[in-house]
């Protein structure tokens, strides 16, 4: 665990420091933000570096193995129902509780959409259905290219008919719905899932869950914009 933390600390420092320094250079050349802002900036940047260290180490120690274990277990019961039910529950639950989605629903209400809670449910259902479809696709060996094209194609076509502010919100929502825990968990789950299936490529089959699942919220919000 200590070794993992040390490795993560080096990664965190080397990855965040360039950004911190460039913003500092901007601060002293053009921004000249007030000193209390600068003070907060320095403390906040330090917090972010410590945070990323713990996060990276924790993801590797806890979240990735969990996702891999669950993913590798799912196909072993020869039960499509188990896969579908688990995927839908997982997709729905992680989206409903995601803080980013809450922020999204507040923005949605600001845009004049009524029913922020209903929007959260629409987004979560979209995510759950597509996450499930992405796993079922792997079982049946349906090419991911066609599924991606169909799903994002629908999104783009809907976008042509939806009001512009809904389009902006919808395409922003895709990544808001994929939270910082959901992403590593889904990645590991997909790789674990294909690891126990014969004749599946870990690259073209193990990945793609996040990308497909994130189209769910996009389509959900666009449908809202077009039909209501």
């Amino acid at each position: 665990m200590l070794l993992e933390l040390k490795k993560a600390a080096i990664e965190a420092i080397t990855s965040i420091l360039p950004l911190v320094i460039v913003i500092l250079i901007l601060q002293f050349t053009v921004l000249h933000a007030p000193p209390e802002l600068l003070w907060n900036y320095l403390i906040g940047a330090a917090m972010a570096i410590v945070g990323v260290t713990l996060f990276l180490a924790g993801v590797r120690i806890g979240i990735l193995p969990m996702g891999r274990d669950v993913g590798a277990e799912l196909p072993q019961h020869e039960s499509l129902l188990l896969i579908i039910v688990s995927a839908v529950i997982f997709g729905f639950v992680v989206t409903v509780t995601e803080p980013g989605v809450m922020v999204l629903s507040e923005l949605f209400v600001q845009l004049g959409g009524d029913g922020g809670t209903v929007m959260v449910i629409v987004v979560a259902v979209g995510m759950a259905i597509l996450f499930m479809a992405a796993l079922v696709r792997i079982i049946f060996g349906f090419p991911i290219r066609y599924l991606l094209m169909a799903v994002y194609g629908i999104a783009v076509i809907l976008a042509l008919f939806a009001p512009p502010e809904y389009v902006a919100l919808a395409f922003d929502s895709g990544s808001a719905a994929a939270g910082s825990f959901t992403v590593p968990m889904m990645l590991a789950l997909g790789l674990g899932f294909v690891s126990v299936l014969a004749r599946r490529s870990s690259l073209s089959d193990g990945f793609g869950l996040v990308g497909l699942a994130c189209a769910g919220p996009i389509i959900g919000i666009l449908c809202w914009g077009v039909f209501f």
Binding site: A12, S15, V22, I23, Q27, V30, L31, E36, L37, W39, N40, Y41, G44, A46, M47, A48, V50, G51, V52, L54, F55, L56, A57, G58, V59, I61, I63, P65, M66, E73, V93, T97, M102, Q110, L148, Y152, G153, P164, A168, F171, D172, G174, S175, A176, S180, F181, V183, P184, L187, A188, L191, R199, S201, S202, L203, S204, D205, G208, L209, V210
Partner: protein, 244 residues
């Protein structure tokens, strides 16, 4: 002066719910099927706890450090007569933010592992870094010049679809995954705040319409740039990624 620790407890609460549910989801599998030894499970749980504390600190750091600074950048450059400077700034910060985003790091390492080292993590990292930089610049250009979002999204997705026919199938899934992953919390906070900050001061732009949609544009960056890189990999066909 606002304390840098204000709102910290709120984030602790917000992030706790998804974490608890994630653990609960795992526990159901643990008790029904996995039945891992207690010692192993306790290590996993300690890992989750670390990741939880880490994420809270990271998010708090973003809120007190990067959000206000990004807003400052947007407002300052939006006041410039030549506010097009925001475009190169967008490129610079877009690239740096992609290096800093921890979930991008996790993704790149998983890709290297899944491809048995064939696709190197740092190559993915640089591809994403340049791709996101260019699209962040494009997003700034949209805010500055008030280009309608659809004029960027529709051609962008058409290019992404066309590339689907030519790119290596091993990269297609990765490309779309990266699209959602590259737009992590830091990217969202930094780039969106610059865009909304600028939209608020540039005449004739509406922060609600011109500030949003930025993430949607940046999501396109990995989808397109990774597929382009895959055309280069085509010259050297992948080995050792097919399992069993």
């Amino acid at each position: 002066m606002v304390s840098p620790f204000e709102g910290l407890s709120g984030i602790f609460g917000d992030v706790a719910i998804p974490v608890v549910l994630l653990v609960l989801f795992f526990m159901v599998f643990q008790f029904m099927f996995l039945k891992r030894p207690f010692k192993q499970v306790s290590i996993l749980l300690r890992g989750v706890l670390l990741a939880y504390i880490g994420l809270v600190l990271f998010l708090q750091g973003i809120n007190v450090a990067f959000l206000p600074m990004a807003n400052e950048i947007g407002v300052t450059f939006g006041h410039y007569v030549d506010y097009w400077v925001l475009i190169p700034i967008g490129f610079l910060l877009g690239s740096l933010v992609t290096i800093a985003e921890p979930q991008v790091k996790v993704l790149c390492q998983q890709i290297e592992k899944a491809s048995s080292g064939y696709i190197k993590a740092h190559i993915m990292q640089y591809t994403l870094c340049i791709g996101v930089g260019l699209f962040a610049a494009l997003a700034m250009a949209r805010t500055v010049f008030g280009i309608p979002l659809l004029y960027i999204l529709v051609p962008g997705y058409i290019i992404a679809f066309l590339l689907l026919f030519f790119s290596d199938k091993n990269f297609v899934a990765i490309a779309f995954d990266s699209g959602s992953i590259a737009t992590g919390p830091l990217t969202v906070a930094l780039i969106v705040s610059i865009a909304t900050g600028a939209a608020a001061v540039i005449e004739g732009s509406n922060p609600l319409v011109d500030g949003f949609g930025t993430i949607g544009i940046i999501t396109l960056a990995p989808i397109i740039s990774i597929q382009i890189i895959s055309l280069l990999y085509r010259i050297k066909p992948p080995q050792g990624d097919e399992k069993k």
